[in-house]
Amino acid sequence: MRSAATTTTEPLELERDHAHHLLREMLRIRRFEEKAAELYSLGKIRGFLHLYIGEEAVAVGAMQCLTPDDAIVATYRDHGQALARGLDAGSLMAEMFGKTSGCSRGRGGSMHFFAASQRFYGGYAIVAGGLPIAGGLALADSMQGRKRVTACFFGDGAVVEGEFHETLNLAALWRLPVLFLCENNLYAMGTAIERALARTDVAARAESYGVPAEAVDGMNVVAVEQAVRRAADAVRRGEGPHLVELKTYRFRAHSMADPDLYRTKEEIEQWKTRDPILLFIERLKTAELLDDAELERLERTVAAELDEAVAFAEAGSWEPVEDLTTDVYAEPAP
Amino acid sequence: MTRDEIREAVVRCLCEVAPEVDPAQLKHDVSFRDQLDVDSMDLLNFVIAMHEQLHVDIPESEYPRLGTVDLLVDYIAERLPAADSLAGA
């Protein structure tokens, strides 16, 4: 297992446009999540809300390595993946408002974003519930000879679920084109990883199934992109499933009602010093790939997109109760 | 048949049609339809009974005129060929 954690101090070989694209995508997620928290406290967003603040580099870095034809399976913390994959911010906000203009027509809410056109096969609220689905999507591709990747995001909590074991074994056995992306943010809700995993090295686990794996600093968007690209290209070449463990951290509580007592303030503050966005801005400025004016303009475009998204969600309409029972079943083709 | 025999026959036919009637209470000079619950079916059955027992046919047109037992007895008495010959035959 090679450790490819590119330290944040190495000189940066990055084109200016791509750098700005990565930064803008991370800012889009950060501001979107901040606004979601505000709207939740105002009662506009209800139910559960799991914020991606602190993990932006993972979704943004990984998504650069996937084509529109690849498939995505995510978890209930799916706002970052959905935005980075290109789902319209307005449709995501509307979905959290429960409006029919939402990406799942208001039926799923924050934990269940779906978009068939972007092959975004959803957020899953059952820990590791999405892994077998990803296995099936890849099985179909391999049986029909299609050279594409199914990227499956999951957290450190899923690693000890039975479905992780069953799916990795089946994928390795049948050489299924699945890219397993483990967002290891060190906590499964309130249980720290070392209190749940007998061996906390996720990458090592994958090796035991014959699935090549790599761990990478999930706070370094460039390192994430490089590591995920290596794995994605191998999968696309038909070398079977690969796993990347992205070591990251969430700056907010598990969800809005979580008093976050299971970790210390110091630990959180310490991790905040490695905020993936601030780190990246610093590196771009030292490499003169970004100046304050450009950053200001990026923030304004992100803010404008966000205001539009909220207005779109506010303007959306509720699904009529008469439609309650539609789409429980699909009608057979005439 | 004497007038009394005709009267007795008429009352007997009436009782067949209206079993709840008490012959002793029946007034012969007052319309029997006012005294008994006799509808058009009962009246027809009564006329048929008299046809079968007294061999006299009362035309429908005469119904209104023959409302009491007395009137009926007079009517039948006139029609029967000879009141007594019947008794002898």
Partner: protein, 385 residues
Amino acid sequence: MAEFVMPALGADMSAGTLLAWRKEPGDTVARGDIIAEVHTDKADIEVEVFSSGVIEKLLVEPGTLVPTGTPLALIREDGAAAEAVPAAAPAAPPPAAPAAPPPPPHLLISPSAKQLATELGVDPATITGSGPGGRIQRKDVEAAAARAAPPTPAAPPAPAAAEDAQAAMRRAIAAAMSRSKREIPHVYLSTTIDLTQATRWLADENAARAVPDRLLQGVLLIKAVALALREFPDLNARWQGEQAVAGERINVGVAISLRGGGLVAPAIHDTDTLTLDELMHRFRDLVMRARAFSLRSAEMSDPTITVTSIGERGVEAIYPIIVPPQVAIVGFGRIVERPWIHEGQLLACPVVTATVSIDHRVADGHRGSAFLVAIDQRLQEPEEL
């Protein structure tokens, strides 16, 4: 001026207690700063502020429980206008439900048996059930219906039994009639029918017949109704569940008054196919057996329509109640002599007032009126009856 409101923290939180303020009026705050600590059912949570500016005024004292969305503090924002927080309209109290009518005394009877009892006009209260715990079953109702017309030939029932049967019948009629009035939206129509043709034809016919073969006027009326009904299958029907089911045959129920009160309306089967002579014979037989309490169960439950007549000693018109589950009933008043314009000439003619009551769930007044007109036309050609 921006409001800092009690935030909704978690799916099932509707209110929270302000534990402590972390800022004082006059402090400047930036978006994301911790402004207060709030107690929820699950835990105490530090709460961030979403607007930046200077705290103007604290509206709520620590230790007070307030619903989510309640303004807790006012913040003079640097520049941006505060977002209006929509106040949730209090839900109107539900209207008080009308007091339910007291439940009828509980009679142990199976639903199917109750249904049959209504159809046969048998009062369940008069029946003792053979089922467990005395529950009344279909076979008990069928037996009772047959009993209501005991099979003893001709011999009138003993007075006590008659009394009993009389009371049972009265109750059965009461139940059927009140149910009819309750459930069936009646529409009533009437017309005066000129019986000159019919009366003249009948007088000539009877004059030519032997006394025992004489026909009654009622027979002509029944046959006219039966023939007219052929063009009105929707009125020749039985109401079952939520809709009328057309009868395959035309069975006219003929209302027969019984000695000492009470009424039954047994059916003459296939009335429209009978000749006048056959109809007269069936009619006389029915009257005799009804008055001798020896009707058959099928005759009781098969009529698809009922005809009732006041007879020649009653009033001029009757507006009858439909016999459930039928959907129509025809009534004839007394035949009377009336001034009548006949081709411009004023004549004295025998006329009768004919009425029909229609179940408005099945057909409307126009239909009923057309039906009466059809009966009138039939009676103008007595020789065709």
